[in-house]
């Protein structure tokens, strides 16, 4: 029964990873760049939610509702001010600039909040769970996170396929120049893609901060998990990202069942195995 529990927890954890990953996937799809500070922005969102909750007395959920649009705006601005410029400089510039950004965010958070681990206090919900049997119980929070992840992915999918801007984002991902020829303002589109990425990663950061403690240094690990979910699932496919997140979560919880020290390693090994034997990912794009 402990195994069943591990599997269920792993799948639910995968939802969180997919939430971390979908922004990475969209930005890479549209702009062909990876924001190395992706994970750090999630941590930044968690700290902001912490401060908002602290200052206003609002619950963490409401603090998240405030923080997410703020991060979306930050994303749009960051794209217009910094990333757009770096795109014009050369292929290395964005990576280096976002890496510098990652170092800046980590250390600014360190200065502001110290290295102490913190958590978003959600009261009883943290321990409340749905008991299915003696050994198997599903935490409400994990369930909520998973459902949120699926809702976000479905929403994104609908946005990309049904709206005018969404279609143009896909077109621009296929061929940026041809997209400009039909009227795409690439800078604005890229800004939208970045703000979607920031909003989703902020949501992921806040959800993460409710279930476990966080400190300024954990951003890079979030980036790595998100990246692994994207590659395992297959580049450029949102459903692939969800599957990738679930595979990663499963690998971690099941291996953790054997030996807690194996948790991280197992996730990485799955990632490397996919890279070695199925580099296109489990669910490559264009299978819809």
């Amino acid at each position: 029964m402990a195994w069943v529990n591990a599997v269920v927890q792993g799948i639910l954890l995968g939802g969180l990873y997919a939430l971390f990953a979908c922004g990475l996937s969209i930005v890479f799809g549209v702009m062909r760049i990876v924001n190395l500070a992706h994970g750090d922005f999630a941590v930044l969102a968690a700290f902001l939610a912490y401060s908002v909750a602290d200052a206003t007395g609002l619950g963490p959920f409401w603090a998240g509702v405030i923080v997410i649009p703020v991060l979306a705006a930050v994303g749009y601005l960051l794209q217009r001010v910094l990333l757009q410029r770096s795109l014009g400089v050369g292929p290395l510039a964005t990576l280096l600039a976002t890496f510098g950004l990652s170092v800046i965010i980590q250390n600014v958070l360190l200065q502001t909040y110290s290295a102490d681990a913190r958590a978003l206090d959600i009261g009883r919900l943290a321990s409340a769970s749905l008991r299915i049997s003696g050994q198997l119980s599903i935490s409400y929070l994990a369930l909520i996170t998973f459902v949120l992840a699926v809702v976000v992915l479905v929403g994104l999918q609908l946005y990309l396929s049904r709206t005018r801007t969404g279609r143009m984002l896909r077109a621009s991902s296929d061929d940026p120049e041809a997209a400009r020829l039909v009227g795409a303002d690439s800078r604005h589109l890229y800004g939208i893609a970045t703000s979607i990425a920031f909003a989703t990663v902020a949501l992921a950061g806040v959800m993460f901060a409710m279930r476990s403690s966080f400190d300024p240094s954990i951003g890079p690990t979030r980036l790595i998990f998100a990246f692994e979910a994207v590659v395992i699932g297959g580049l450029g496919s949102l459903w692939g990202t969800l599957v990738g997140g679930m595979v990663l979560g499963l690998a971690q919880t099941v291996a953790g069942q054997f030996d807690p020290a194996l948790t991280l390693l197992a996730g990485h090994v799955i990632f490397l195995a996919v890279l070695a034997f199925r580099p296109q990912g489990l669910i490559p794009a264009r299978s819809t």
């Binding site: 143009m168 296929d174 020829l181 039909v182 264009r286």
Partner: protein
């Protein structure tokens, strides 16, 4: 009324001037064909007008407004649409989505998805299919439809016939008049000279980025076009080339004539023998004797055939 007015335009690929000192005007409702050999700067010209390539110097005016520095998407909104070389459809979008994306900055006008599908009836049944799965000719039709849906005042068509079977090309050129009847002004680039001459009111011939000939198809002699196409004039008179003064206007018979008497085909043939002594680069050099050799056949068939080989090869 003048819709497009280009004056003294330069455009560069790195250090190389793909277009030099180009002047060109398109009147509203007109169909202008730009012809020229490979590397003459035709596609660069269209891309510069559409705004995906920066103008190095000079100006582009559209409907009286200076658009030289205007970003591409604003030009679409102003009414310029380019059907790019090689179609450039969005492969992960369906046929219908490709058309819808074309209407992103749609202006008021007759064209919409339904109207395009009336023009190309096969599209309706295959609207949900991925654009990547279409044949070359079908892709070209979607690409034209995608540009039309923005209801452009000026439609730029870049090498619509490139890489397509002759039958398909003929079919596309059959629909073209129907499209233009709606009042759209067109500027088309073609290597298939015969095809271009058939649909155009005006012809503009480029050689190595410069205008070498312009006029109405009916007023231009075949030899004139051949010479302009391959640059026999330009080679014979190196002094005339800079500043675009080598261009000839058909309405001015004196300008069109060649003082050195190159209308004699044998003379042109002899000229090619002198190439090794000349220092300048000469991409069309090997083809210089070809027009005079291919005596029979319709005007421009020689150059067109030659050019097609170069593209596919």
């Amino acid at each position: 009324m003048t819709l497009l007015e280009i004056s003294d335009l330069y455009a560069y690929h790195g250090q190389l001037a793909a277009i030099s000192a180009l002047d060109l005007t398109v009147e509203e409702g007109q169909t202008l064909a730009v012809i020229g050999a490979n590397g003459a700067g035709k596609s660069t010209l269209l891309r510069t007008i559409a705004g995906v390539m920066p103008a190095g110097a000079g100006s582009i005016r559209f409907d009286g407004r200076d658009i030289t520095r205007l970003p591409a998407h604003h030009r679409v909104a102003a009414g310029i649409a380019l059907v790019p070389e090689g179609r450039r459809l969005f492969p992960s979008l369906s046929v219908e989505e490709n058309l819808l994306v074309g209407g992103y900055r749609r202006r008021p006008g007759p064209w919409n998805v339904d109207r395009v599908m009336e023009l190309f009836p096969w599209m309706a049944q295959r609207r949900r299919q991925s654009a990547a799965g279409l044949s070359g000719g079908e892709q070209q039709a979607v690409a034209i439809g995608r540009a039309l849906i923005s209801n452009p005042r000026l439609l730029l068509l870049d090498e619509v016939s490139l890489g397509l079977a002759p039958v398909v090309v003929r079919r596309i050129y059959q629909v073209l008049p129907e499209i233009l009847r709606a009042g759209t002004t067109a500027l088309l680039v073609e290597q298939d000279v015969a095809q271009a001459l058939r649909v155009a009111d005006h012809v503009h011939c480029l050689l190595e980025g410069r205008t070498v000939l312009r006029g109405r198809p009916g007023e231009l002699a075949r030899e004139q076009i051949e010479r302009a196409y391959f640059g026999v004039d330009a080679r014979r008179q190196p002094a005339a080339a800079p500043g675009g003064s080598g261009s000839a206007d058909a309405s001015d018979p004196a300008g069109a004539g060649d003082p050195a008497g190159a209308s004699d085909p044998a003379g042109a043939g002899d000229e090619s023998g002198a190439i090794p002594r000349q220092a300048g680069p000469n991409p069309a050099g090997s083809g210089a004797s070809e027009p005079s050799a291919s005596e029979p056949g319709p005007a421009g068939a020689g150059p067109a055939g030659k050019a097609d080989e170069e593209v596919t090869g």
